[in-house]
Amino acid sequence: MSLLSMLSSSVLTAAPVPVADVHQAFDMGWAGLILWLPLLSLIACGCCAMMRCTSKLPAWITVGSLAGSFVTAMFLYLNYEPPGDVVNIVRWIDLSWVGGGFEANISFYIDSLSLLWILFVTGLGTLIAFYASEYMETDLGSGYCRFFAGVSVFLFAMSALVLADNLVLLYLGWEGVGFASYWLIGYYYTKPEAVAAAKKAFIVNRIGDLGLALAVYLCWTSFGTVQYDELVTVIESGDYARMTDDWSVAAIPWLLMLAAFGKSAQLPLYVWLPDAMEGPTPVSALIHAATMVTAGIYLLARMYPVFLLDGDHTALHVVAWVGGLTALLAATIGMAQYDIKRIMAYSTVSQLGYMFMGLGVLTTYGAAYHVFTHAFFKAALFLTCGAVMHGFAGQLDLRKLSGLRHMKGWKITSYAMLIGCLCLAGFPFTSGYFSKDAILAEAFVTHGPGFQWLGFMALFTAGLTAYYTFRVWFRVCAGPVSYEAGDDHHGDDHGHDDGHFHPHAPRFAMNSVMAIIAIGALVAAVPYFMDSGVKGGWIADMVNDSTASEGIPAVRAAADHAADHAHGSLFGYDPHVAMYWVSGGVGFIGIAIAAWLHLFRREDAVSLRRALLSRSATAWLPRAMERKWYVDEIYHALIRAPLWVGSHVLHGIDRILVDMVLVDGTAKLPRLLGRWVQPLTNGTVHASATAMAGGVALLVIVVLLILHLGVFA
């Protein structure tokens, strides 16, 4: 029976059948609520916008539905039994009648990894939406509905990304969060910088998406499926080799890396994230710090088996080095910025670098744990920055703000920021301390090209992190009280009417959210020690149960993983214990320098900068750091400008060569011929008649020639 008769017979009977041929422990269709609730909230916000709603209704709808998503995710977690389930929700792309059966439905793959992610995504989403209900209130009646609709779109797409059971649905989420990010970065759409930043974010992400799309194609051609559970089965069976060229499987990790580096803002595609700070601050906290940018780590963790297929782990080594270099580069830029939101943005890029380093040095749980703690403490930092920006009419320059913690109504903001800073700086016994340590220690003990150096580099970066973090806190929250208002006047009713600017402190919604998230950032240390049957506790359990574990036996044997990952010692101690001391020490040094330059003797920072700038040998350093190592300028000169010129050249070619010369030229041939014989026809009847007679005579002669002389015979 040929394939085609098979195909046609299957087609004849192809009624839209619900997809239900996979194992399902119990009916979990309600899991779809995680997707549908944000979608409903999107529609509700759209209706509010149409009815020109001027109340906070859209915010409450969004908060409510996101809370519903969180509760659903919680139920999923409580119902979860390893190794997880596939839950079919809706039929989507289904070409199962095709030989080889391409199928990608809206189905969930619920395992511990996706649960870990969906829990903090929906949880933080709810809290930050609540915060935004107050933060965005100056836009009530104008952009308020649009903002919360964007947040709903984001949560919808992010949930799809995390819960997807196949790469195509993941791709939907992947592009969806990119679009939500475009929507929200460009929220202040009359600001040209915001529009440009939004466009840049989308396009840079699209470059990454290109990688993801090609990776999906390759997965399908190589493994014959895009569904995770089948993918794992095929990889375990090792039965895929005959279906494909040998290069194709090897290429998948590199394409996935391109995708992840785009979404998670790593070298060379990190440039969009700092610009994305043009969006409202809750967006920066939710999308550009806590959740969306970790999608890249999620993707690599999810597809980890593909990375381990290569026994040499070349791709993983590159991941580790790119992560480490990005961490260092972003930290050096962050040190020299004055805009506190930008500093946090570069810090996010830097911390994401750590997470990739964790993936690269084979500690997926370390990476995932850092994602988890970072989500809390960086959200806390952004939200407090947002509170400052909100209260001081858009002021973000750390030189123009000081002593916030002594001001009335700013206590929670200041101390929430302090907690965030402590975690980010890796202060002992905070959550960031443990999660960063998990990665640093592995960098020293895992075998890989120059991983020792990578470890030292990361350690140095940790010191820089501590410095720039506390630079912000000491400047903004500590020291004597003084401030200048920003130039953002949309809060005029609080401000300039009596000639003096009065900052307005955050109220209940913002304060409570900042407090909860700051406490969460502290508590995030606990899971590391829960259930501590294994090192890494609850987090490690969650990660190791999933595809992100290194535990696929066939693969482990192939990769000779045990030898690769032997727990060596660091300076003669258990690496994790040693690292507690070393990284703690480095953090202290960073904080101490920050305290010296930005708390006790702030004039020294100015004179240091002046001293560096005055010497020609060192002047380039602060300049380059402040100008972000000229990366944007380099990209512009190397990529955008040539492309722009090239496009104009192409346009010229299209108009002149293709259209005018080739097309119009061809069309002009008959006319030219006409011009040539035109003198014969001056329009008089006689000329026409003569021409006609001549023509007939010519024809007669031709006929005679043919007939009598056989000229053409």
Partner: protein, 114 residues
């Protein structure tokens, strides 16, 4: 002339006879054509076209007789009828043109020129 009549009535028509008719026809046509091309008076030009018509008519009749097929004769009747109609039309046009430019010179009309 009586010779010609005799030949017409006789059953046989030689190739030479046919040739004579055709020569006459082509001479008539040539006269018409030359007249058409050289004269500028619209009415004379019209007369010349009529001459060319008659040349065709002669050829029709000759070939009809040669092939012993009366379609030739039938066509001649048609052509004469149409020529009459056409003459009416064309002379009307000439009058019209004359009224516009007050001359019968054909070369004053160059609207066909691009």
């Amino acid at each position: 002339m009586s010779d010609l009549l005799h030949m017409t009535l006789a059953s046989a028509m030689t190739e030479a006879d046919l040739a004579r008719f055709l020569v006459l026809s082509s001479l008539l046509f040539a006269v018409g054509l030359c007249g058409f091309l050289t004269r500028r008076n619209l009415i004379v030009m019209f007369l010349c076209t009529e001459l060319m018509f008659q040349a065709a008519v002669i050829a029709f009749v000759a070939f009809g007789r040669w092939h012993w097929d009366f379609s030739g004769q039938v066509f001649v009747i048609f052509i004469l009828t149409i020529a009459a109609a056409e003459a009416a039309l064309a002379l009307a046009l000439v009058v019209l043109l004359h009224r516009r430019r007050n001359t019968l010179d054909a070369d004053t009309w160059t609207e066909l020129h691009e």
